[in-house]
């Protein structure tokens, strides 16, 4: 089977996975106690008003019908409207997805910037103080909760040193103007969000580099009299990058879904906070719409990871 056929098969699987995911969320959200209309309108509202809202959002119909109606709307490109805010879900998504993507990208760039050199030097000078230092940092990066790191970063770099703003992502009130005004509010949240990944990726690259550096073809490369930098950067890194790149792609999808605490601390209008608010208020259409997008994102990054795999490793052909 060639790569295109494999890709086609993977893409065909997407709707199946999405139906299972959305159906699960659909049932779970509705099975938990709490009524969106009562939460929105309050207890004192007349039964007629409640009934009207219920009918508008098809909440009076049986569960399977509700799902089918929602699914039909989604296929036509309509994600419905928020029960609480009475705004189209797609509109809310649009605003927040961009912010979340920007934050995830920034965090990923930070994670790569730190983890690649860290993993390489730790592998080259393994069991020396360089390696111990790098490994020590990785343990620290793993262990520190991101909210704690966020608070430390805010205290040191925003409050005491005043280098970066505490918040301001997605707002037009950033100080100054131009690129820095856009970039600066991302720095602290990106560091807080990406530190776990610096440790995770660093450790992954370290172990795959150590594995690769022990291979016979590295000895061959040295036996050819190549410069050590060429042996590392071309012969070793290209092999070590195969598991690394795949993991990075998968983690990018993951980073979209785990931003809630960071969004909360830095007052970032991202997807996480929107989903949290929607869940608390039983705002079903918003929860479903956002879940759908996150699931799609996860699936797409996984497929991208698989495709990258074939590019990096000529032995892999689907």
């Amino acid at each position: 089977m060639n790569t295109l056929a494999y890709l086609a098969r993977r893409i065909v699987q997407i709707p199946v996975v999405l139906i299972v995911t959305t159906l699960t969320i659909f049932i779970v959200v509705r099975a938990t106690p709490g009524d969106p209309v009562e939460l929105m309108l309050g207890m004192q509202t007349s039964p007629d008003a409640v009934q009207a809202v219920r009918e508008k959002f098809h909440l009076d119909k049986p569960l399977y019908q509700q799902y089918l109606i929602w699914l039909g709307d989604v296929i036509r490109g309509d994600l419905g409207s928020s029960i609480r805010l009475n705004r189209p879900v797609s509109q809310m998504l649009g605003e927040r997805l961009i912010v979340s993507l920007q934050l995830a990208t920034a965090a990923m760039l930070f994670a790569l910037l730190i983890s690649i050199p860290l993993g390489i030097v730790a592998a080259i000078w393994r069991n020396t103080w360089v390696d111990y230092g790098a490994t020590g940092y990785m343990v620290l990066g793993f262990s520190i909760p991101n909210f704690a790191l966020a608070l430390i970063l805010i205290y040191v770099f925003a409050v005491e040193l005043d280098w970066f703003p505490i918040s301001g992502i997605g707002s037009s009130t950033s100080r100054g103007g131009g690129v820095w005004a856009f970039v600066s509010p991302f720095i602290l949240p990106a560091v807080a969000l990406g530190t776990v990944q610096t440790a995770y990726f660093g450790r992954l690259l370290r172990s795959s580099m150590i594995d690769v550096l022990g291979q016979d073809y590295i000895r061959t490369a040295h036996a050819k009299g190549l410069k050590p930098a060429v042996v590392i950067a071309v012969h070793a890194l290209k092999n070590a990058m195969i598991p690394f790149v795949t993991m990075v792609a998968i983690h990018f999808g993951y980073m979209i879904g785990i931003q809630i605490t960071i969004e909360y601390i830095f007052a970032i209008p991202g997807m996480g906070l929107a989903v949290l608010t929607a869940v608390v208020n039983r705002d079903f259409p918003v929860v479903q719409g956002f879940t759908l997008v996150i699931a799609i994102f996860f699936l797409v990054t996984n497929i991208i990871a698989d495709v990258l795999y074939t590019f990096l490793d000529p032995r892999i052909r689907y």
Partner: protein, 337 residues
């Protein structure tokens, strides 16, 4: 121990020691190896796994990782130039250009994610400073020479797209690309089918004769060594225990270990009654070198002197010497039918 008969050796090694510092102690992988390699000649180094053959090669190539490895010698000279004390930058200029190496497993020795073209042209660009274009042309010529059909179309292929024998041909092309004066083939045919082995041996022999390259052929297989080498050094427990011209050594084995090796090698002209004689026991630990002959515990021919003092090097014939006290002349006829 193999003396140069008037000719200036291309590679000369004197008293090479390689130790590895491990948690269990110091492993004496190579314990005082000396030999001369004459221009255009093929020297075989035989011995079982762990006898120090490969480590000897890697030590000469300066590919022993230090730490834990430690290489010392009285002298290592390449074409009259001392290469023992040179720094890593100069060692790198020699590797791949003046001494090249072919390894055992061609699947593992070629980088799986780089094209054959890339792996072939690297050394050319590094050592000869060829342009991409010139290196490519030379690569095609080399592949053609080692017998890879449609060489031009195969530069973009990856190692997994070649068969085992073809991969080893590529390795040979890489090793010979910069026209080295010494080629070290470390178990270069061990991982291959017997028919392919013969082709590869033939190829190496033909190419190195054409190019005038001297070869160190490392193998545990006496048959292969007999087919390709001019002279042989037999290694045991990190030392050369016997060395000499290949015919002389096979006809007049003068060390208990060599005799044992010959007795355990099947031959086509064997009588039906002749049974293969395995060498009983295991090679000694290299952690604590014994002062006596290291083969003593396994030797069937040990004499009184073997238990009293370490064997001294003695000449058996012209440029044929051994490190053995026993007189093995009664067996010369027996092993050669």
């Amino acid at each position: 121990m193999i003396e140069s008969a008037g000719m200036e050796p291309v590679l000369s090694v004197r008293n090479l020691h390689t130790r590895f510092h491990t948690e269990d102690g110091i492993v004496h992988a190579v314990g005082g190896v000396s030999f001369d390699l004459l221009p255009g000649k093929v020297l075989g180094i035989v011995g079982e796994s762990g006898s120090g053959k490969s480590v000897t090669a890697l030590s000469i190539m300066k590919l022993v990782v230090s730490p834990p490895g430690e290489v010392t010698a009285d002298a290592i000279t390449l074409e009259g130039e001392d290469i023992l004390g040179i720094d890593e930058v100069r060692a790198r200029r020699i590797r791949g250009s003046r001494i090249a190496m072919v390894f055992q497993d061609p699947m593992k020795s070629l980088n799986p994610v780089l094209t054959i073209g890339r792996q072939l042209t690297e050394a050319l660009r590094e050592h000869l400073g060829l342009s991409d274009r010139a290196a490519r042309d030379r690569a095609i010529e080399l592949l053609d020479r080692v017998g890879i059909p449609m060489a031009r179309d195969r530069l973009g292929d990856y190692p997994h797209q070649f068969s085992g024998g073809m991969r080893q041909r590529v390795m040979i092309a890489i090793a010979l690309s910069c026209n080295p004066s010494v080629l070290i083939a470390d178990e270069a045919t061990t991982a291959l089918d017997v028919t392919i082995q013969a082709q590869i041996i033939d190829l190496v022999k033909r190419l190195t004769e054409d190019l005038g390259t001297a070869v160190i052929w490392i193998s545990h297989d006496l048959g292969v060594v007999a087919g390709i080498c001019d002279s042989v050094a037999v290694m045991y427990a990190g030392r050369i225990v016997e060395s000499g011209p290949v015919r002389d050594l096979f006809h007049r084995p003068s060390h208990g270990y060599t005799l044992g090796l010959l007795g355990s090698t099947p031959r086509l002209d064997d009588d039906e009654e002749r049974r293969l004689q395995p060498i009983d026991g295991l090679p000694p630990s290299l952690l604590d070198p014994v002062p006596l002959c290291p083969f003593l515990p396994r030797c069937r021919h040990a004499v009184g002197a073997c238990r009293e003092k370490p064997p001294a090097w003695r000449d058996v014939a012209d440029v044929h010497g051994t490190r053995c006290w026993a007189d093995l002349t009664p067996y010369w006829r027996a092993t050669n039918g």
